[in-house]
Amino acid sequence: MTELSRQESYTVRFAGDSGDGIQLQGLQFTTTTAASGYDLATFPDFPAEIRAPAGTRFGVSAFQIQFGGKRVTTPGDTPEILVAFNPAALVVNLSDLKPGALIILDPDQFTQQHLKRAELTSNPLSDGSLSSFEVWEIDITRLTLAAVQDYGLGTKASARCKNFWVLGLVLWLFNQPRTRVSEWISNKFADPLVRDSNIAALNAGHAYAETTELAPKQRQEPLPASFLEGVDYRTVMGSEALALGLMAAAERTGLDLLFCSYPITPASSVLHYLSGLQDIGVATFQAEDEIAAVCAAIGASYAGKLGITSSSGPGIALKTEGIGLAIAAELPLVVLNFQRSGPSTGMPTKTDQSDLYQAVYGRNADAPLPVIAARSPSDSFEAAIEAVTLALRHMTPVILLSDGYIANASELWPVPDLASFEISGVNTRSGSSAKLFERDPATYARPWLRPGQAEHIHRIGGLEKDLLTGHISYDSQNHQAMTDMRLAKVESVADFIPPCKLESGTPEGLAVVAWGSTYGAIRQAVEELLKEGFQLGHVHLRHLNPLPRDLPGLLSSFDEILVVEMNTGQLASILRDKLQLKVRQLNQVTGQPFNVDTVKSFIRGLLAEEKSLELTQTQVN
């Protein structure tokens, strides 16, 4: 590669030890490009270890970003630039790179010892394994040390500035300003030594690029300059958007929010985001375990607050019995599940979509509840509002599925206007305890009777209750009626689902049906295939239980249906059952999000197969 070609978007990956500050570097690059008005999507991918041993393959932490002047929905399949802080970071990422990609590395790190830690028997700098790439060997560490030596930080701390040195260089490459980053550094580090050293490193990296031979031919910025200018945008991570959605929903409904949870990867961040906000009626309770968390949230809802709980798969498993109680007692409750790879502890920092079965079916007895999913970091905001709405409108627990990928990924987000969100149909009827179970005919919601009001006094629990009075009942016909009612209640959610629509394409040929975080990759794949002339459309489901009533109608005009999922086929199985559809499947359970190309190739293959099948059939007929 002699120069970066001018493209609509670029994909850059930073990689190094978990101690190298890779995630920080990535986030700072993200904020800057966002401020420049580019669209973007990121994918942080870090090891399970807190500080994995330096230089090992499993210890590599990576941050990838795609940014550009067009709509960007994925972090990109194949990076065009890789910053590799050490041999391990180079070797584990090599196979993902675009042919001819630019690799920026520090040759001083390729010592015998480091090569050994990375389980390399020969040196990639000399063994020809990088021959198909453009490699810039830059003495990053040395140059960083030189840049900050005047501040007298000491070698170790000085070397830690190298992430900002490289960031300066990469910012230069894309003609991006350093101001945001400098400002951030100034605010972040109280110690002036640290602050000044990092700023110096940032500037030095930038200057290095400008003054060496690099310049100016590789300097580039995405095309077109920016399509988002003038609009109020910011970057947002999925977990933050979700937390904001919950706060917004609480504000709109005038309810205090009690978020009861127990830390677990990758669910903890929402708990962190919501902590320390008591002054605006948002409190968190770190319970002793997931069971206590869901039970405390149920207690909160019983007492008239908005009770919410969160976890990932193993923790949701523990909450199951509690969720059943919320169903039986008909209390509003939002349960967030940030899916991760399993079974059991599995790969906690890796992503998956395999808790759909658990969400829809994973309780004892006939115990239905609404299940919805967020599709992207920014969409998590609206998904959270929808979850709260359902819970309050129908007096039911609701499961909102997110996953490790969306939780940590960032995206550009047109900042929503809080006042514009109307939470409609919240069940505010109160009534008296005599009418404990007088239901809203449209939503089956019972009145929400809150302690503190004399006319609300009642007793409730997990035993079967009389359909009308709410008293304990062992009557067999009543049990049937209550079972039917519980099903009807969840089905009634479908009366409120807005019409299904195609994300892209037309309702002919192949319907690509999916849910959750595969959204970006599928959307891009479908759009590209449409450009290639294929006939297909993309349907992406927010509501997984119940399914939208008009889904069968929408799907009926397609020739074939493909369900794309990061699991062994859980939505496919639900569609077969509920809609009696014949579906094809594309499943990936690797702990990694889909590449656009994987989806595209699969669909191309499928459509080619169809074609040849048609051909054969035509020949035969």
């Binding site: 504000e251 002054d279 207690g299 302690p451 006094i457």
Partner: protein
């Protein structure tokens, strides 16, 4: 409270038929609870009873306040949520030795150590009543039950010692049949801010009949239990002729007879509710020493729920809006 009419214990009864076995000790506890609510001036609309599962956990159905009969072992967790959501409420937890100390041990531990303002009554009948008589973690070694036909050999857990070890700020004990003292104790329990833990020795007439009789039966109680009063010398016996003395070398207590031995009241151990070490000694007493009853330990410490919400000073709409605009972490810390 103003001009509210004084309620009587009948005002706290519901229309539900009580479904315990005839002769079950739970009836007496129910009555004492209702009386304590009435005499203590509880406001029904502000009172919540939360229970788990078990015979004991049925109690909320029979008290005309708010009631939540939850799931097995989880009442302290649900109650914590209730109390945190609305610290104005008076929240009671009703649990059994199985519910509270077998499946629910962890939640009990954490409610106690956090000092959530809950009144926790543990009905200890040393058996699983509702599931038909299996031994429980408080059953004495050798207990024969459907799951221990040859006699149990687990070492039991001692409710009071457990609570103390968990950091409880109020640990007390009484017996189902002693209505007068139970009532007095429940009134104290209501007053304590923070978690109050009360073990109630309860008779399961069907599956573990009369296990407390040796200690708590009317005829035995005076000689086999001691009702503690803060700041008073520890005396008991029908004629209050017996007392306890501390051996400081061995850190043990022993019994003395004030009539027969050369001891005076001044030599006796004086009960100090605030001394944890003493509390542990008293809790551990078992026959031939008298079983300790009443408030064994009490310590004033801030309740977890007291300052939970802080003061809601912020302009909520404005702050949420600005968090949406500029990011949570940028503002929060």
């Amino acid at each position: 409270m103003g001009d509210r009419p004084q309620l009587t214990f009948k005002d706290f009864a519901t229309d539900q038929e009580v479904r315990w076995c005839p002769g079950c000790g739970d009836y007496a506890i129910l009555k004492a609870v209702q009386r304590a609510l009435a005499e203590g001036g509880a406001r029904p609309e502000n009172t919540v009873f939360v229970s788990g599962i078990g015979c004991s956990s049925r109690l909320p159905y029979y008290v005309d306040t708010f009631g939540f009969h939850t799931i097995h072992g989880r009442a302290p967790a649900v109650a914590t949520g209730v109390k945190l959501a609305n610290p104005e409420l008076e929240v009671w937890v009703i649990t059994g030795d199985g519910d509270g100390l077998s499946i629910g041990g962890n939640h009990l531990l954490h409610a106690l150590r956090r000092n959530v303002d809950l009144n926790i009554l543990l009905f200890n009948n040393e058996i699983y009543g509702l599931t038909k008589g299996q031994y429980s973690p408080t059953s004495r070694p050798g207990t024969r039950s459907p799951t221990t036909p040859l006699g149990s050999f687990d070492r039991p857990v001692h409710p009071g010692s457990f609570a103390l070890g968990a950091g409880a700020t109020f640990v007390a004990r009484c017996a189902d049949i002693d209505q007068k003292n139970m009532l007095r104790l429940l009134l104290e329990t209501r007053k304590h801010k923070g978690s109050s833990f009360v073990e109630i020795l309860q008779n399961c007439i069907v599956y573990n009949k009369d296990i407390w009789d040796d200690v708590a039966a009317k005829k035995n109680a005076p000689e086999h239990t001691v009702w503690l009063s803060h700041g008073e010398p520890v005396r008991f016996g029908r004629n209050m002729n017996r007392g306890l003395r501390l051996n400081p070398k061995t850190l043990t207590v022993s019994e003395v007879n004030l009539e027969e031995e050369a001891v005076e009241e001044a030599d006796l151990l004086v009960h100090d509710e605030t001394n944890r070490v003493l509390a542990q000694m008293l809790l551990a007493m078992k026959p031939p020493l008298p079983v300790a009853m009443g408030v064994i330990y009490r310590q004033d410490e801030p309740a977890f729920d007291e300052s939970f919400w802080g003061s809601k000073t912020g302009n909520r709409r404005h702050k949420v809006d600005s968090l949406i605009r500029t990011g949570v972490f940028s503002q929060q810390r």
